[in-house]
Chain length 378, copies 2
């Protein structure tokens, strides 16, 4: 009997398990899917034929997993070779997997598309549906991606909290390093921390534009002169005017160079050049691996994408990814339109000088991320 | 008419405002206290005579502030000169402040003691009561300090969450930099993240003991061989066998040298020496500036300390600090016994090789910090 298979790809998020449970719940309603397997550790689990029987799991366990961050199946983020694509298609055929759900970002949608092609090449009828997942919100064809809002909420709350500390103990410049290599969606969301005119973040920079060191120092000096303190939100992928990471240690990552200690470097340079007391925080993985500040809307969107993927496959769709409208309704887009394409933060949502968002972004983001309530002070 | 004054000192915590509201609520019950002023930004606020009328605040605002992290009054952490001590005593006398509450750590208790002495030297009758506050839990004479448990809970949850990420996407060594310059109370608390035998943290190091780099690398290799992954919890103040910070950037802090990017340095050295994929997170201030994972017990203890300080002063006590028993009951200790003394993590609660806690610590910590619930996975 035909069965379905679901696998995860790329970094875990706080709501990837919600999408998984959406797939489990919805697939039970479709008789054509005689079973649902989950691959352990993504592509590697398929190649090793290491599968979890998802319809065999108890309701309580599934409910707990649906609310837990990280990937309960395990995931993988390595590239897939052409020989492996063929082996994967062969394994799916041998196990009568007719429905394949792949949860990931733009690179993963490319892999999903390649798996569909490999199955077609061996004339095996396989329906492939992608489930969007990325904290970076950098997928085309969708208003937003599951995983983005929870991480965005985390960083907005983090900047609010660090801003409160900075207000109570002024005389310091604080750099908060936000996740996001190439796209500024997450760093932009820290703007939701603001309520009063002097609330953090005081400066927001976007990795889409290079940032001259002198420009940064000038901005900080102006804020410090006004408030006697300053909180700067900056992306891990921010580059200076030379296309370098301000002298931070770098390592080769899957998508180009990766600055390892960017905020720290900025705090050192600022202390040296401006003679100010500085420090830096790098919450890093905390921003995607926990649910410190739950975001119910993100959870619902993630669950809806999983369920919609199953419905699409049951209706005969293939080679598509589920998309989200701003109101949370789902749609579909061809995998090729999403694969390997990175959606950057819109230039029109950055202010003219490039150190803040425009109000239009906040209007777009608030329904997704929710209110970031201010803390009281005298 | 005689009035009372409260001031904050040192870094804010998540529950210092709970102690403040404890002072406000309790002081209303004592007719001898004809008013309660709060100094803005600690000692600086006293010197500038910048005071908030705390009895004049609305109930709703006070309730909101009591639950908010950071210091709603503002705080300060600079040293106080002898001339300033005299000026402070003079200001208190001129304003008929008969009760002075000072909320802080061991250095602040020293300042409180000096203010008491300065008032006595001018024969001004001033009752000084210290309210303990420090995330570091490094005060003598008290079982624990308000502020510790919330920060400890944050780092335990952070390590649980990063551990979940590390499990789902293995093949990596993760360093989590925990607050704590000289005392290992906070890093020890990450042990509460563990439920299964292979749960993070896999290694915990204590700043009380030097850590040879080869020893660290050997420990990591052994864990990695067993699990194919590793999460290391390490204090910001950890020193190597030479008394250096593993080559991290350093800066002169108020209490000796301060390593600026310790976990990052450890991740670089481990990658170079062991050829493993590594990364590091530095949640830093997030661990004390927010209430990502609320800790009701810590809140109650903080509130109780504020209220107990007022009762002690009303009963004629002076030159004392409020202490906490393990069950949350309060007591009193002479300021001189607490001032400028740092209580380190007990050697008997570290395992023999110094890379983990003993069960006795977990037994002590759990009622304070609460359960750190595990996340589900397949």
């Amino acid at each position: 009997m035909a069965v379905a298979l679901v696998a995860h790809s790329g970094g875990p998020t706080a709501v990837i398990n919600a999408s998984l449970v959406g797939v489990v719940d919805e697939s039970r309603r479709h008789r054509a899917m005689g079973g649902l397997w989950g691959a352990r550790f993504g592509i590697d689990g398929i190649l090793r034929e290491d599968f979890v029987d998802l319809h065999g799991q108890g309701a309580e366990k599934l409910r707990a997993i649906g609310g837990a961050p990280s990937s309960a199946l395990g995931t993988s983020r390595r590239a897939v070779t052409p020989a492996e694509l063929e082996r994967i298609a062969g394994i799916l055929r041998a196990r009568e997997v007719r429905y394949f759900f792949y949860t990931g970002g733009n690179g993963s949608m490319g892999t999903a598309s390649q798996i569909a092609a490999a199955a077609a090449a061996m004339r095996y009828e396989l329906q492939v549906v992608g489930i969007p997942k990325t904290i970076d919100n950098d997928l085309e064809e969708t208003d937003h991606t599951p995983g983005y809002a929870t991480t965005a909420r985390f960083f907005a709350c983090a900047v609010r909290d660090i801003g409160g500390d900075n207000r109570a103990l002024p005389g310091q410049v604080e750099f908060v390093e936000v996740l996001g290599r190439n796209a500024g969606w997450l760093v932009a969301a820290t703007a939701l921390a603001r309520h009063a005119a002097d609330d953090a973040p005081h400066l927001i920079y976007f990795p889409e534009a290079r940032l001259a060191l002198d420009r940064l120092l000038g901005d900080i000096e102006a804020v410090y002169r006004r408030l006697g303190r300053c909180v700067v939100a900056v992306c891990e992928g921010q580059l200076d005017e030379h296309g370098e990471a301000f002298g931070a240690d770098e390592r080769a990552g899957s998508r180009g160079k990766l600055a390892m200690n960017l905020a720290h470097r900025l705090s050192m340079v600022t202390a040296e050049r401006l003679g100010l007391r500085t420090r830096s925080e790098k919450p890093g993985l905390l921003g995607r691996s926990g649910v410190a500040y739950p975001c119910p809307r993100d959870w619902r969107d993630a669950y809806a994408c999983g369920a919609a993927a199953v419905r699409a496959a049951a209706e005969g769709q293939s080679g598509v990814m589920v998309t989200l409208h701003h109101d949370g309704a789902t749609g579909l887009a061809p995998l090729e339109k999403v694969a390997f394409v990175e959606r950057l933060f819109p230039g029109g949502w950055r202010n003219e000088v490039g150190n803040d968002v425009r109000p239009e972004f906040v209007e777009w983001a608030r329904p997704l991320i929710g209110e970031v309530e201010p803390h009281g002070y005298f």
